[in-house]
Amino acid sequence: MAEESRGRENEKKAEERKTYTLPVGPQHPLYVEAENLMVHVDGETITDVDVNIGYMHRGIEEMMQRRNYLQNIYLAERICGICSFIHSCTYCQAVENLTGLEIPDRAAYIRTIMLELERLHSHFLFLGVMGYEMGLDTIFQYTWRDREHIMEMLEEISGNRVNYAMTTIGGVRRDIPETIRKNMLDKLSLIEKRVGYYNNVFMEDRVIRKRTQGIGVLSKADANKFSIQGPVLRASGVNYDVRWHAPYAAYPKIRDWKVITEKEGDVHARVVQKILEMPEAAKILRTALNKLAKLPKPPKGELKVKASLSIPEAEAISITEAPRGELLYYAKSNGTDQPERMRIRTPSFSNMLSLRPILKGQQLADLPVIVGSIDPCFSCTDRVTLVEERTGKTRTVDATYLKRLGESRG
């Protein structure tokens, strides 16, 4: 028994000799925000991963409880630069649900248009980042060029490229003029054509397929078990999209699109998932833009209804589909103009749990594309440090090394 025990100990020690811990972040090669992954590696194989988050925590729930309902719209909008509209829209919906306020039709369609434009530019950004991480700089540059059409549309409508200040409690603050609407319809055709091109590239290019297929697989069972959200969930074969299953804004009236799902749950499926979601977003946009032309324009058609800013004691929930998945706001009022409690649950927070199952057993060189493929709203570095557990020696490598390692897999 003693020998057996000693054997196990030695085996453990031998195992330990082979194991390294690789801190990735708080600054990380993929993103501009701070996050930390402690990656345990045996040679080049990832054996486990610990996810440390919180570097970007700004206490927004507490801040919202100290501001009035109007001020909070602008605070919610600043939670994320990429998904700024979905945050302000979900917040406004939560406050509207507190009082049972119904927004005008025209406002619902304008919100839907903004939401889908935001989804399109976020998906383009994701494609560009994935191309860059695989060493395909042409794809990166192409997507950035095509994304610019969406950014221009957003700028034409709102005057801003991010933080659009378009929505308010009870509706929207600005209309979409007829000239801009027509211009958007023209640009949509161009975007649809470009999405077709990316579809061909990612489906047919052998290098991309070899680099992404069978890598970082998230099974349907794990996706459900860990309550994963959005495109990552759908890429594992789960048919769940808040826009379809609990429609809000104008989505209850727009049903000529379908929820895309993939089966494989690997990096390739997650990329293809987003590419195939883009024509569906364009379909929703086209329907909404066409419908907008038929609705009465201001001043006859209202853009917002008047909302009281002192809200009696109540609680409400608002749930939407952000570009990265289900976004949830809970609001509790107390009769004043400030909320008693605000709770925000973002999709990336839920999706953090997917990192462990999809990274275990994978090659270190695949780490950038796997982490990138869940499109987390976090962080980026230009260097990482390798620590040898046995001797405590450290070795620092930079982003170029990691990127070269990633590219060498191609």
């Binding site: 925590h57 649900n97 309550s227 299953h245 609680e315 409400a316 749930i319 749990l353």
Partner: protein, 157 residues
């Protein structure tokens, strides 16, 4: 979806889970159920039969000696809110992680913000803040403005 079909769905959810406690609110997209704290695990067990996904866990400090713990699920296009109340002195409640592994981070976050101990959680530790930050920052008794040094300096190494 037609309003009548949607209302029927929500009513069905309210009927199905209403037996777990008291349905205190039902609106156009959510059902709200109040469950006594002693029955919460039984209630979550019943929900587990309908879904393996959990959407959120949040806590609200009433400021009157009670903390409201709320579990949220998305079932058939409806948000099911299950609320229970626990004492705010040494607050403790059983973990939902055994039933819903997706609750891992939600419980850690709420533990950090409100100091609630989720008994049986496999790794209940701070998730967002450094160890030197104030305890339970979202509790009403924690007034950050009145603290001289709310965040202690962390020593290097």
């Amino acid at each position: 979806m037609k309003t009548t079909a949607k209302t029927a769905k929500i009513t069905n959810i309210a009927k199905r889970f209403g037996k777990l406690g008291k349905v205190y609110k039902q609106d156009k997209r959510a059902v709200w159920i109040d469950v006594p704290s002693k029955d919460i695990m039984k209630a979550l067990g019943e929900v587990r039969k309908a879904t393996e996904r959990i959407s959120d866990i949040s806590i609200y400090d009433t400021g009157k000696g009670l903390l409201e713990v709320m579990y949220r699920f998305f079932i058939s296009g409806t948000v099911l809110n299950i609320k229970t109340r626990i004492n705010d002195v040494k607050p403790r409640i059983n973990t939902a992680v055994r039933l819903f592994p997706g609750a891992l981070l939600f419980e850690r976050e709420q533990h950090e913000m409100f100091g609630v101990w989720f008994s049986g959680h496999p790794g209940l530790d701070k998730v967002l803040f450094a160890k030197t930050t104030p305890e339970t920052p979202l509790r009403k008794k924690c007034i950050l403005d009145k603290m001289k040094n709310p965040v202690k300096e962390e020593k290097d190494g």
